[in-house]
Symmetry: C2
Subunit: 265 residues, 2 copies
DNA sequence: CCAAAAGTGTTTAAAATACACCCATGC
DNA sequence: GCATGGGTGTATTTTAAACACTTTTGG
């Protein structure tokens, strides 16, 4: 542990200790929520991770459900705290419940390190976690770490570090889920800025599906189901023919969301 | 309440009271599992329900997760107890977490009725429930009620009674999920007996999707992806041309399960 | 021998795929 | 003026949908 670390802990001690000793008065026991926050930037699919100080490992942004709170609300709250965004597109995708997924050792060691002697804590108990998958506009996110974390950063989906517990598995499952989603729902609206070019949209699909798509057929298919509106505006400052900007036709987009659109490209 | 009811309660009192007062020593708090058990019989899609004595309403078969048990194991255990079957095809499909989904009133009234005064019980607390969807061979199931229930019966999917809490919603979500599944996975293996005829398989699909399919195109598609083996045996005693029996080619079936098969019929 | 339901094949329409040429821009 | 990447159209293959006739069986 580097020299400043222990001191840093001190600043957060009160809140953290309270969480370990009294969190169960506020939150449901045994249940947590973990979020996979996907973003798209520089033609790369990214995921927002936290560096958990107590475990010295990267981890998914997560949290707990308040005693009178809907789980979806808990997920929204967590997402807002890490990204600053309201109205995030998200959905639960899987529950992870292996009895051996526990941070008891890590957590009690951590408490010792910050000088607290606690034999029992709701945080030492078993947790079942519900995975939420969220799609956000990268450019609008301002990553904020939580009290348990010393960093909050984007990672390229192909460059994920070792992660806490089964968080790596959770992330993989989320990605798999996103790929499936893509076949049936339009996805770009949540991941792209309001205006975007066709090549950008295509790159998004290619990145998620992890395969190349034919430029012309892709365009035909996307334009064909009418969820896009082309703007009378082209991208500036490119060393070749300038692509048009597009934006989503919200009404038709929503409709396609419900009806499904059988994308297999 | 009919006259015999209270007496009937007595026989179960010990186990039930123990459950209310000490269940939290055995099970995780705040988390339950509810199962939607689908079967297919007489060309109808059926669901197995319990009549909950404490609520005097039909309810989904459900249960709780033991302190050191994987949630999937809990679901398997519950499924086995109600159906007698091991190795059931099942999967979680959604978590229901509205804070208002609570049986506190119903449960405490019930305890009063059986003569127990308990102000507190883990069973009065809020529960988040994980829905599991299961597909079973109707002919192999022997429905068994649990201690909280006075009946365990199959219901036609189009003839579902009023149900406890949000169980109706859970059932609808499960059905929706099953319809989606059908588009990407073969489904018959779990719902049909080993030998079955093409018209039976088609009826299964028609029942789940709730629409008519073209007999010839259906057959071509199903046979086309090679998951079936036709037997040299026809159905006996039908007043018309006898259909062949088929069975699933397990190897190819499993492969199709993974690869998906884009059924949209 | 006829009604009922199953087996099989063909024709047509739609969708996915593959592929080629022209256009605009910055260097 | 040329390399880069974007815009657009067409021909081909594959897949889905619609449809008709023949076969078997019990009554």
């Amino acid at each position: 542990m580097c020299p400043g670390t222990l001191l840093l802990y001190m600043n957060f001690d009160k809140e953290i200790i309270e969480h370990y000793l009294k969190g169960h008065e506020k939150y449901l026991r045994h249940i947590s929520v973990d979020c996979i926050i996907f973003g798209f930037h520089n033609n790369e699919l990214k995921v927002l991770l936290l560096y958990a100080r107590y475990a010295q490992l990267w981890a998914l942004p997560g949290g707990f459900i308040k005693k009178e709170e809907h789980m979806d609300e808990a997920a929204k709250r967590i997402l807002k705290e890490r990204t600053g965004l309201n109205e995030i597109y998200m959905q639960q995708f899987h529950v992870f419940s292996a009895p051996e997924r526990s941070t008891k050792k890590i957590n009690s060691q951590f408490l010792k390190n910050v000088g607290v002697k606690a034999k029992e804590s709701w945080m030492f108990e078993r947790f079942i976690t519900v995975g939420y998958s969220a799609l956000v506009d990268f450019s609008k996110v301002e990553p904020v770490a939580d009290v348990f974390s010393s960093a909050c950063e984007w990672f390229n989906i192909h460059d994920i570090p070792d992660m806490l517990l089964d968080h790596g598995d959770i992330l993989n499952k989320a990605l798999e889920n996103l790929q499936l989603q893509l076949n049936y729902h339009p996805v770009g609206y949540n991941l792209l800025p309001e205006k975007f070019t066709m090549p950008e949209l295509q790159k998004l699909y290619e990145t998620i599906l992890d395969k190349k798509l034919d430029r012309r057929n892709f365009q035909r298919k996307i334009v064909g189901n009418g969820i896009l509106k082309r703007l009378n505006e082209t991208k500036k400052g490119v060393a070749h023919k300038a692509p048009y900007y597009y934006k989503f036709d919200l009404r038709k987009y929503q409709k396609a969301l419900k009806g499904g659109m059988g994308f297999e490209l």
